[in-house]
């Protein structure tokens, strides 16, 4: 059925590149299943570890410059007749800072890859989990590190077990720094006793509330503290003396000793193993299966997914101990995922990727891309909350953004005004575009108008 080919490409993917719809039509489920491959990034870009090293060097240089400046100021005040002024300050401003450069490169790289990919379902899934484990780029360290979390912790585990993904995410410096766990030490640990330091519950709470059991999950404040103790000492090393070890650093001296009781289970492990066992327990908990399955169905199918569909995902999750590939396959296999009603409103990022995929318009310059996403309300890694960006129509369909989306659609359309409109409709929807949209688009008074309307049609906005 050609309508299923269409759903495969648009509801599960980012929209049809030329020729893609034809490939999907003969076997829509198979077409999607063969896309479940780990997303590939530009490997030339730096790792979190390298970035931490560079940031350290940048700080050292800044310190040196600062002390030189102070020295020369001292000299100047000593011999006031001297008019020489140091120009060091200007020199540092010339090239973008490490964190800004990295942030831009990462944002552009994943956008480009999603536009070009033959496996756009895998990129949709990456975006989903990246937002599930949302980290915000604020301050130099997080600006550099935030985009590395999805590359280093999420993508490699996208089609493995959720437990492995969770373990990798909580070990990653971006998450540890963002939710302040690198300074969280048990009160009864050596560091706690010696330096009077204590726990920081931030990461533990968000793991329970946002990453695993869900806000209505079966946990209370005692569990939050138990988990915080379990992962106390999970920290980062960002000094050059640990060169090559910039990143996760387990400080045993900061780990709260003793066993912990978490969500109905006692954990007697020592050291880092204790936290790991706790995370695994949470990952495999039925509430986690329900919480993440619901979010997945909500992301792909409808703001209010049917319970029957969610149940099927939960069942597969439990049968396979949270194997994400299997869970996604259960989604692909369920009839309710193929309902003809287009219930899901497209986010700005998805919309932008869609437009570039279907029109093959030249990619925007990095600054423009980030500026545009910012204007449309979805600047990468800027959700500003560990809960990530919202995922419902109410959050994305705003009056102002509607106008902004029309405006950029018009600008993009002007760049691809050689495209044959009817051919483009065929490529994106086959025969399935509504009569009203078809006539509106094909009767537009210019090709640019027609492509603008295509990019803003109800069929584009909801899938």
């Amino acid at each position: 059925m050609s309508v299923h080919g269409l759903i495969a490409v648009n509801r599960f993917g980012y929209g049809a590149k030329p020729g893609e719809l034809a490939k999907a039509i003969s076997n829509p489920q198979g077409f999607l299943k063969q896309q479940l491959k780990q997303p590939e990034f530009n490997r030339v870009l730096p790792s979190a570890s390298e970035l931490m090293q560079k940031l350290y060097q940048q700080r050292q240089q800044a310190k040196m410059l600062e002390s030189k400046k102070q020295e020369s100021q001292k000299q100047q005040t000593q011999n006031k007749e001297s008019a020489t002024s140091p120009s060091n300050n200007n020199q540092t401003k010339k090239s973008p800072k490490v964190q800004q450069q990295a942030y831009r490169d990462f944002c552009q790289d994943s956008f480009k890859a999603a536009v070009k990919s033959d496996n756009s379902l895998s990129w949709r899934l990456l975006d989903f989990f990246s937002n599930h484990f949302s980290v915000t780029a604020q301050g130099p360290v997080m600006t550099a590190l935030a985009p590395t979390l999805e590359r280093e912790a999420i993508a490699p585990n996208l089609f493995g077990s959720f437990a492995d993904m969770l373990d990798a995410v909580v070990h990653h410096p971006a998450m540890l720094v963002y939710l302040n766990n690198q300074q969280s030490f048990g009160v009864n640990s050596k560091i706690g006793k010696r330096k009077g330091k204590g726990l920081n519950e931030n990461l533990a709470r968000e793991i329970l509330e946002l990453h695993t059991l869900g806000v209505d999950g079966p946990y209370n404040q005692t569990d939050v503290i138990a988990l915080a103790k379990g992962i106390s000492g999970w920290s980062v090393s960002n000094k050059s003396k640990h060169s090559g070890r910039n990143g996760f650093f387990y400080r045993d001296a900061g780990h709260e000793p003793g066993s912990q009781q978490l969500v109905g289970k006692r954990f007697t492990q020592k050291g880092e193993a204790q936290g790991r066992a706790m995370l695994k327990h949470l990952a495999l908990h039925p509430s986690t299966a329900k919480f993440v399955s619901y979010k997945l169905a909500k992301h792909f199918i409808s703001d209010e997914p049917e319970q029957e569909l969610v149940n099927a995902l939960v069942a597969r999750w439990q049968q396979t101990q949270g194997n994400l590939k299997q869970v996604v396959e259960a989604l692909i296999e369920h009839p309710l995922a193929w309902q003809s009603e287009r219930a899901k409103f497209i986010t700005p990022r998805e919309h932008l990727i869609f437009a570039h995929r279907v029109t093959e318009a030249p990619l925007p310059k990095t600054r423009n891309l980030i500026g545009l996403l910012n204007q449309l309300g979805q600047r990468p890694f800027k959700a500003g909350s560990p809960a990530g960006y919202g995922d419902t129509e109410g959050e994305w369909l705003s009056d102002k953004v509607m106008i902004d989306r029309i405006t950029w659609s018009r600008m993009l359309a002007a760049k691809v005004n050689k495209l044959d409109v009817k051919q483009l409709i065929e490529q994106v929807w086959g025969e399935q575009l509504s009569q009203r949209s078809y006539l509106s688009i094909t009767r537009a008074e210019s090709r640019v108008d027609a492509i603008t309307l295509l990019l803003m049609s109800p069929e584009t906005l909801r899938r």
Binding site: D399, I403, D449, L453
Partner: protein
């Protein structure tokens, strides 16, 4: 008689001894000072302008029968010769007519017989006149090809985000448009409104967004920059700033008036009129050596429709203007508006070819050898009428 006219007179006898290419370059190079270089500006109206509402055939007794409501709304136009009149929104153009700087040509068609905007525009812009071919070759356009043939007029600018089809095929073409332009055009909003009829949330959101925008637009930022009058002004500045630029292309959309035509066209024509006025004002002395050609892909139905508008038709009018134009008259044979005189019983019948008129005016204005013209305009010859 000025120096240019004199040279034109002698031009014919000089031709014989030299190759055509050499002739063009040497003749032009010696005949014009930089400020006298003949400028050509092509204005494409997208969406199919209703010529009967622009150059109004008030004398034709069938006119009011076909369009009782529209004719009443329009009232009496600004008088032209032969009983035609000009839409009152075109006050500046009317003063040009009186100065012999405006030359309307009625009942023109490009040779395209379908009624699709895109195909009609591609056809008019490419000027390759392959009426029976389904695929229109858009790799080059008549203006781009003509530029290539002229050793003198070799640079062009498009006031657009990209190079339009009409200018393709030439090497030295640039495109310029105000950056961060925010103006999308009212017709897109109304087309979207129409498309969202079955999606209440989308149409509500669009409506509210437009209200927001309207209020914000009180401050006028991007919209101002992309007003046609500002684009034409910028176009003139670009032409003045670079002596080698002798050709520019502009476009103006918003002519697809299926409903409420009178009010919409009054606004549109005013925008066109203001824009051309600002072009002339900014060009200053260069105006004397300028030709502006304004045309649209096709015309509209002769009979008004049920929503105060008109639908896609065939023949339209075109406008030639500028200090170099021998205006103050109307060209083109009037086919009549009796039912039997209409194309397919509904549209104004084309009696002459818009591309052929463009060929004619370019041949005269840029002094391109007649033998070259058919190759540049898809086999079309030029008319014998003297236009400049």
């Amino acid at each position: 008689m000025n120096r240019r006219d004199l040279l034109k007179l002698f031009g014919g006898s000089l031709v014989v001894m030299q190759s055509p290419q050499l002739l063009i370059s040497s003749a032009n190079a010696t005949s014009y000072s930089k400020t006298e270089q003949p400028l050509f500006i092509w204005v494409m109206l997208r969406g199919a302008l209703d010529s009967l509402h622009t150059v109004i055939p008030e004398f034709d007794e069938n006119y009011i029968k076909h369009r009782p409501k529209l004719a009443k709304q329009l009232g009496t136009g600004l008088p032209l010769e032969k009983g035609f009149s000009l839409n009152p929104a075109l006050a500046e153009l009317h003063s040009w007519y009186q100065n012999s700087e405006l030359l309307p040509i009625v009942a023109v068609g490009s040779g395209y017989h379908g009624r699709s905007h895109f195909d009609g525009q591609d056809f008019l812009e490419s000027g390759q006149s392959k009426v029976n071919s389904n695929a229109i070759d858009t790799h080059s356009g008549w203006l781009g090809r003509t530029l290539q043939m002229s050793a003198y007029h070799h640079k062009a600018i498009a006031i657009d985000q990209t190079v339009p089809i009409s200018l393709r095929g030439s090497d030295d073409v640039n495109a310029w448009y105000p950056s961060n332009a925010k103006d999308v055009g009212d017709d897109i909003y109304s087309a979207l409104m129409n498309m969202y009829q079955d999606s209440p949330k989308l149409s509500m959101s669009l409506q509210k967004g437009l209200e927001l925008q309207k209020n914000a637009m009180a401050q006028q930022s991007g919209k101002q920059r992309t007003k046609f009058a500002n684009l034409t002004k910028a176009c003139a500045n670009l032409l003045l700033a670079d002596n080698k630029l002798s050709c520019a292309v502009l476009e103006l959309g918003g002519w697809d008036t299926h409903n409420n035509q009178h009010g919409r066209l009054a606004r549109q024509l005013k925008e066109l009129d203001d824009g051309l006025a600002s072009l002339k004002a900014q060009l200053g002395e260069r105006w004397q050596h300028t030709v502006v050609a304004v045309a649209t892909e096709f015309g509209r139905t002769v009979k008004e429709n049920g929503t105060g508008g008109s639908d896609h038709g065939s023949a339209a009018c075109m406008l030639l203007a500028g200090g170099a134009i021998k205006g103050g008259r109307i060209l083109g044979d009037w086919p009549g508006l009796a039912k039997s005189e209409l194309f397919e019983g509904r549209d104004l019948m084309p009696t002459s070819n818009s591309l052929q008129w463009l060929a004619t005016v370019l041949a005269q204005h840029w002094q391109i050898k007649p033998a070259h013209m058919p190759a540049l305009f898809g086999g079309l010859q030029t008319y014998s009428e003297q236009l400049v």
